[in-house]
Point group: D3
Chain length 225, copies 6
Amino acid sequence: MTEAILVINPNSTAACTEAIDQALDPLRAPDGPEIDCLTLAEGPPGVETQRHADQVIAPLCRLIERHDNRAGAFVIACFSDPGLHAARETTAKPVLGIAESGLLTAMTLGERVGIVSILGAAIPRHRRLIRALGIESRIAGDLALGLGVVALADEARSWPRLVEVGAALRDEHGAEVLVLGCAGMARFRRRLEDALDLPVIDPSQAAVGMAISALRLGYRAAVQR
Amino acid sequence: MTEAILVINPNSTAACTEAIDQALDPLRAPDGPEIDCLTLAEGPPGVETQRHADQVIAPLCRLIERHDNRAGAFVIACFSDPGLHAARETTAKPVLGIAESGLLTAMTLGERVGIVSILGAAIPRHRRLIRALGIESRIAGDLALGLGVVALADEARSWPRLVEVGAALRDEHGAEVLVLGCAGMARFRRRLEDALDLPVIDPSQAAVGMAISALRLGYRAAVQR
Amino acid sequence: MTEAILVINPNSTAACTEAIDQALDPLRAPDGPEIDCLTLAEGPPGVETQRHADQVIAPLCRLIERHDNRAGAFVIACFSDPGLHAARETTAKPVLGIAESGLLTAMTLGERVGIVSILGAAIPRHRRLIRALGIESRIAGDLALGLGVVALADEARSWPRLVEVGAALRDEHGAEVLVLGCAGMARFRRRLEDALDLPVIDPSQAAVGMAISALRLGYRAAVQR
Amino acid sequence: MTEAILVINPNSTAACTEAIDQALDPLRAPDGPEIDCLTLAEGPPGVETQRHADQVIAPLCRLIERHDNRAGAFVIACFSDPGLHAARETTAKPVLGIAESGLLTAMTLGERVGIVSILGAAIPRHRRLIRALGIESRIAGDLALGLGVVALADEARSWPRLVEVGAALRDEHGAEVLVLGCAGMARFRRRLEDALDLPVIDPSQAAVGMAISALRLGYRAAVQR
Amino acid sequence: MTEAILVINPNSTAACTEAIDQALDPLRAPDGPEIDCLTLAEGPPGVETQRHADQVIAPLCRLIERHDNRAGAFVIACFSDPGLHAARETTAKPVLGIAESGLLTAMTLGERVGIVSILGAAIPRHRRLIRALGIESRIAGDLALGLGVVALADEARSWPRLVEVGAALRDEHGAEVLVLGCAGMARFRRRLEDALDLPVIDPSQAAVGMAISALRLGYRAAVQR
Amino acid sequence: MTEAILVINPNSTAACTEAIDQALDPLRAPDGPEIDCLTLAEGPPGVETQRHADQVIAPLCRLIERHDNRAGAFVIACFSDPGLHAARETTAKPVLGIAESGLLTAMTLGERVGIVSILGAAIPRHRRLIRALGIESRIAGDLALGLGVVALADEARSWPRLVEVGAALRDEHGAEVLVLGCAGMARFRRRLEDALDLPVIDPSQAAVGMAISALRLGYRAAVQR
């Protein structure tokens, strides 16, 4: 397959793009599509607010336009799915959002879906997104780690908190499957599955998985009427 | 009251801002707040797509920052409510979106709410917004006039179509109240009410009405936690 | 404006009507409509049960008929919205219910709405009303102070309980905005906002705010077909 | 069984009470409870508006109090379920509403429930009731015969209209079961079933059926806490 | 009445069928239908998993076919309602499921319904069933006793746990009425009502109550189109 | 990858299995998992009723057990998703249902999803499944071709009907994406996309696409607790 899947990290932190890139290795195959991760230079260091999420849309759409020729599908790798519908107007290729893909994929693995968010401020944003998706009745809960960037990077602090929050989603909220509510936490996925005995979804992986299918099957995007 | 209500038309068409401005005259009072309508210079001539709606957010937030000192409340005068939640992060003053305000106000006047949209392409965007608002069960239908800018400006063409679409919402979809799904159609409001014998809401008027209350009562905006 | 907004307290306790009346001062203006608060003589001392709420409807509608000539809009000032739809059949003027108006207004200020009720017995009644409104997905919770009339009047007892219940709605239920689930608690509004750092809505104020807009804009009531 | 089921027709038309009474014959048994139909003298000739529905509640509750000693359960025989929750506060005996019972019973006989109403004005009232019940997703549609009292009594006019409306609910709205949206149409039930090849529920029969079970099983009413 | 109500216990444990049978005594009457309880020989000792629930359907439908001549209605006495819709295709007689009937009956007795389940593994199964029924907004919670068969049979262990779980549903989840989430717990019903001061529904009793009405009124089953 | 994806056609018609098998060719890759299609010998010639759907579950689970060693994931290739949750209890490997996967995948391609069913009798079954999935607000409509097996096999009859039904879903119901509501219609997918200018999903392809991701990413199944 000569068309690539372009995964766009809409924040400007290259380390974050690298983490996403590594997480996608299991989805790479010799005869499969190239999976290419891009950093949005115009993005903020991290998408932490609705304003951040919205302000990346214009440059994100321009980036999509610049790469449209060589792309077979796009993935927007931020759990707020910024610009997902604008991007779908911008290109005729399928565009996947990692929140949408992660949550829908989780719905195939368990009755109730728990979300592990980084910061509490994201939760109202996620709630709007979940209602807009129309899947509210399948969400068990959305709990935040409440860790800043530094604490998050320090596994001695972030790992126990991940387990604590995941266990609360499982035990108090009835979650049967978890979704990591951030693009860059895939390195914890397996360990968290083992610690909690629950399936855990990395949303970037889920979205790229769906993009590979879309590419192989040649899904057309919905026409704007 | 010395604080003003700033109504931002996020498209760059001054004639549209003027139409909004005129529609707000009934809400102006000697002892009431100033109601000041601004045109977003960076906006597109009309907000017709999700991408249009999203790309105005960054300049809209900057405009809000520039005028924050003199404003008591902001109104975003586009029926897609672009940047509503980003704006609420940008200023501590109340921010009203005209779709949100128009639909919620309509819910006080009738059991089922019909929306008269300009173009069919807006309807999926409205549906996402309505689900995100959580008021889906109160919406009777959303029908488009299907008229471009030129036809819309020609009342000999737009007026009969407005009546036709409004009657369909009333008679086939059970709407008891209509909302004009666009910032610039207030001039038709009274005539449409008379033609259809239904209450009709202009969403910009509804939002400014809510902004006046917010100002008089001193509502604080929700804190981002 | 020569037409008045008539605010009807459907309980017979004049002190309650006075408290509502005072709370509406910020909405009075020299050139605005008169805002006149009436006590329903036939009402119970307090509306504490569904039966109370229902039995006031007949005299409430008669009161509306007697005052219809001089009224531009009516507000029913009880958080059960007793007789709201009967009243809308009785007069061609807009009729606002304070629960409906308070909750819809709160939806413009925060993602999830918490309700502070007086007595637990009101909560099933509120739940039916909220489902009938179709806004269930926006309600964070409804918690009762659990205080009788005497304890409620004693601020040394009611104030700490208000803060406690409001904090529980904010911290355990995720409320971003609160609505006072009673007509007579407006005096606590500002203090509670400061104590909790959340917007707090007094529903009578919210309803009168909406009535002022309705009057200025000349909303017609929905026709009974 | 010595306790009676008291079926209260909240309108004052004795002929209507008689029609209800006859419809209940299949539920009478030598060893079963007495089923006694009462006419609410204070009611309007027919409950056609929300105001009608609400104004019967006070005398209805008083009637319940007067007969509470000899009753084992009460049925409110009007498809608006007027005073259902007030009545539940008034007596410790089970109280069934015919709309609630008719709709819930229909849900055991078909996937989607169609309602045949008399007048279009009832439909918004039914919609509020259905949302308050929380069963909106099971309702296929609610269509009105649009016949006044005289036309309704004339079977040459009402029968073909019943078939027409029932067929529309079945064929255009996908109803698998119908509920007659009025207390006095039971005489049409069997014929309509045969004409449409659909199960048809008379709501008074459904409610009395549930009351018999409640009596035999000794259900207690929910306590007002 | 010469037609019988056949109550099928889809597990193969005769003691369980006997417990159901005894619970139905209050619904038996000299002139009422025979109520006959059958054990599904091919069933598992208990229906504890979705696979159990599904594998009983084929023999259950064959049992229905064998007894169709003498039956007026069927009841499937397992709280997972296994084969309810298949059974409805198999016979033209009404078929009631005890979960469906128990939950719908509970909705006439209280605003929010709590479910007392035996094992936690049943809860996701119940959740799917509740969403399929379309009554999710009326469910307060579903909590499991977490007791195996032996512990359940030992009242010294099961009774205090029942009270504990019921009280949690009432006090923490706001349940106003409880449904026993199993066919064989009717012996606890009255005691639990007294201990908790809440109405408690035994679902087998509720379903047979609805079957008696269906038989007396001659409800036809929905046609498969 | 040495583990296979086993796609089980739960009807016994080998031609149907072959059609599914061919449709999966675009998802086969030299380094990808084997995709092996099996026919359930015990199944009916076609799954046309709920009883058919339920009766295949027991042999389906046994087939899964026999092949569990060599499987990495299972797909149940019938649009009623028969036995999906029983199968998930039977194996620790991911199990995908084609209705679930097809509908969730469609939600990434358009706002409202239309379903093209073969027979009208399937629609109530689909409605229960859609509500159980919790995605009801995203479904535009479900329309049946109304063709028997012979007519369906005759493209001169089935093709124009497919276009007619698809166009009705698009134009009257607002569908932006279609799902073929049957396992064996993939050969029409591209042609239908071109005829209607809409994305069209073949659900078996969608499910196998999700299974490939599940396999590559090593998703664990939810534990039965």
